[in-house]
């Protein structure tokens, strides 16, 4: 089964070109992408669980990550869903550190390479699959 990624923007942040490009790049490289467009944290988490995605990717170009990303992490925990979250967008280094401390697995600021994003997603997806398959033995 190919790796499955959910990509979303939260709320109404008008800048959605980057994440649409990421969606296309991932698809071109064999990843199944569910592109939610604009959604709120509960929809993101519900869809991620229903669709059994391997990774959640959130784009934040206008600073909402400091409020909304913790909500996504909280909801995942509440639902005991072990799905890694990555964030990309306008995120300065100090805020990236804060997100990583909260449990975000990777942060991609402007200037990140596409292949680096792809590789990180593959690695996180593999880790998740491994932990599920090992738990089932």
């Amino acid at each position: 089964m190919t790796f499955k990624v959910l990509l979303a923007k939260i709320g109404v942040d008008i800048h959605d070109v980057g994440i649409r490009m990421i969606a296309r790049y991932l698809r071109d490289n064999g990843i199944e992408v569910i592109f939610l467009g604009y959604a709120l944290p509960d929809t993101i988490v519900r869809t991620a669980i229903d669709e059994d995605v391997d990774v959640i990717g959130i784009s934040s170009m206008q600073g909402m990550h400091h409020v909304r990303v913790p909500e996504v992490l909280e909801l995942l925990k509440k639902n005991q869903a072990n799905i890694p979250v990555i964030v990309g967008g306008i995120i300065p280094p100090n805020e990236a550190e804060e997100l990583l401390k909260l449990g975000v697995k990777a942060v991609f600021p402007p200037g990140s390479s596409l292949s680096q994003i792809l590789e990180t997603i593959k690695k996180l997806a593999q880790e998740r699959r491994k932990s599920i398959l090992q738990a089932n033995v």
Binding site: G11, R20, R24, G63, R68, I90, P92, P93, E95
Partner: protein, 570 residues
């Protein structure tokens, strides 16, 4: 259908050209060849500009032999305005320095306005936050964390009053960066003028109010027909009431930032403008009235000479469309007026100070291209909102350009450059060719329904992205010369905290408690009924704004009457 044809006379006499051709061949065979041999033929093989116009090593009169001075260039201030829309350009008046401002709360925005004005800004440029653009009030739970992030919340007239407190709006022009629909926030600005007792005819400024842009590259909140209707409602009202207001500022900028090439940016914005013109004409407005209320908002990107050629070519194409296609009689209607903003996507999060240099080059291209008003991005664009310091440096960039470099002392200083004239001609041809393609699809509205511009721009964006990824397009400090220091950050970042958001939410609550809610309800109901009757909604929106109706409430009427636009997936 407008079909482009060349019927030019030669700029040069035949004898000169044949002599030049011979001499050029001699140069290639001797001097150039010898040089390349000596250097082991190492030469960068650059074949095109960034939007694909063929270029070569050196340009001569041979490359501009079909450029006719009189019909292609003319004099500044005369048709076809290639060399500029005014006879003396910046010798008469400097371009307007119009810095994008707005974040956090209307109070913060007011402080930033005043700070920039004190430092020599000459026009205002109010950017709204995404919730306001999409028609949600700051206290709407779905926009939690987004209030004041990318711009100022302007929820009601109260916010407009605060943002412009102490600023005489009759003495300065203001651009309202509304993205999609101008009407709700425009209504609040007009309401502010009315409350201050200022005659509308004295208020100058611009609303973006170009909904087509979000259909091409974004996520439009309302369906296409409703969006065009509401946009042109504002245009129509302005034509009858506000001689100094640009009702629609056609947004090439966002198309470009979303990945369009220079040619796509130019052609789609000129095509989009015609959709509004035609709806205006359908409503019985005169072309010479409409023309005075439409301007353009364009990007200045990295490919320096191509950008200059783009502005020159757009002036020429526009003049011809307005004169020949729409039969505008007043020469003022033929003038292509534009505000430019330096490219944000060209700036990097790595080594942000380098962005000061990038922006300075962009600004220079805008000025050499004949810009009317200019915003220069701050160096922290790829990291957050501009701090007072970085906004000041960006402002100073324009002042240094005008006051110290002498580039603005001569009109169209690049006119006559073999390369720039060649590029201008090629750019013009490429714009006409795309305009013809759009017409062949049944016009821009039909093309938009088929998502042709959207797919076209997306392809260009993806191609560029892959080229940056593989290093074909170099970005200093990112994919070349990236060092460990590149990712270290030693500048302050402006962060809009939840405290500010909570403060803004309190402001909205206060307004809901203190205004006359019955009156608001009645006015919104009147607006809804007018919408159902198909009337122009602008006066109703202004009336509602005067009673402190909120952007969310006004938008709710739109959503209720016209429905919402499903997410576009291309």
């Amino acid at each position: 259908m407008t079909v482009y044809e060349t019927n030019n006379t030669n700029n040069y006499d035949r004898g000169f050209l044949s002599k030049l051709k011979k001499e050029f061949e001699r140069w290639e065979e001797t001097t150039l060849k010898d040089w390349l041999k000596k250097k082991n033929s190492k030469e960068r093989d650059v074949k095109t500009t960034s939007s694909g116009i063929p270029i070569k090593r050196v340009f001569t009169p041979l490359d501009v032999e079909n450029v006719d001075y009189f019909s292609d260039l003319g004099f500044p201030g005369e048709y076809p305005y290639t060399r500029g829309i005014y006879p003396n350009m910046y010798r008469g008046r400097m371009w307007t320095i119009r810095m994008v401002s707005g974040y956090g709360t209307p109070e913060e925005t007011n402080k930033r306005f005043k700070y920039l004005l004190e430092h020599g800004e000459t026009g205002l440029n109010l950017v709204l936050d995404s919730p306001t653009i999409y028609g949600y009030d700051s206290d709407d739970p779905r926009v939690r964390g987004e209030v004041g992030q990318g711009g100022s919340p302007i929820v009601s007239l109260y916010d407009m009053e605060t943002a412009f407190e102490g600023i005489p709006i009759e003495n300065i022009t203001t651009s309202l960066i509304t993205y999609f629909l101008g009407m709700p926030v425009f209504a609040m600005y007009v309401a502010l003028a009315k409350k201050r007792g200022i005659d509308f005819s004295r208020i100058g400024g611009t609303t973006q109010n170009d909904p087509l842009m979000l259909f091409h590259v974004g996520n439009p909140p309302l369906p296409l027909e409703a969006a065009i209707k509401l946009s042109v409602d504002l245009l129509e009202w302005v034509c009858y009431n506000m001689p100094k207001w640009y009702a629609i500022s056609v947004c090439g900028y966002q198309l470009r930032e979303a990945g369009a090439t220079a040619v796509q940016e130019a052609a789609y914005s000129i095509a989009d403008a015609q959709a509004f013109i035609e709806e205006g004409l359908r409503r019985g407005l005169n072309i010479d009235d409409i023309a005075k209320h439409i301007s353009f908002f364009l990007c200045v990107h990295n490919d320096f000479f191509e950008e200059i050629a783009k502005f020159r070519a757009m002036r020429k194409v526009w003049a011809r469309i307005m004169r020949d296609k729409y039969k505008a009689k007043d020469p003022a209607s033929w003038m292509f007026k534009f505000h430019a903003q330096t490219s944000g996507v060209a700036l990097t999060a790595q080594e942000p100070e380098n962005n000061i240099v990038r922006t300075a080059y962009h600004a220079l291209a805008a000025v050499l291209g004949g810009v009317q008003s200019l915003h220069t991005d701050a160096m922290d664009e790829a990291l957050g909102l501009p701090t007072a310091k970085t906004a000041r440096i960006a402002l100073r960039t324009q002042q240094i350009l005008f006051y110290e470099t002498n580039v603005a002392n001569v009109v169209d200083p690049l006119g006559g450059s073999y390369y720039v004239e060649y590029l201008t001609k090629k750019m013009e041809e490429a714009i006409w060719s795309k305009l013809n393609e759009i017409e062949a699809e049944g016009g821009i509205l039909e093309a938009t329904k088929k998502m042709i511009p959207r797919k076209d721009i997306e392809e260009a964006r993806y191609t560029t992205l892959l080229k940056i990824e593989n290093g074909e397009i170099p970005v200093v400090g990112v994919n070349i010369f990236r060092s460990q220091e590149s990712d270290k950050l030693d500048i302050d970042i402006l962060r809009v905290t939840l405290d500010l958001e909570n403060k803004q939410i309190q402001r909205v609550k206060r307004i809901r408690e203190t205004r006359n809610n019955e009156e608001v309800k009645r006015k919104l109901e009147a607006m809804k009924e007018a919408a159902l009757r198909g009337e122009n909604l602008t006066p109703y929106a202004i009336d509602a704004a005067l009673s402190y109706a909120t952007v969310g409430e006004i938008y709710s009427v739109f959503r209720e009457v016209y429905g919402v636009q499903k997410t576009l997936v291309s």
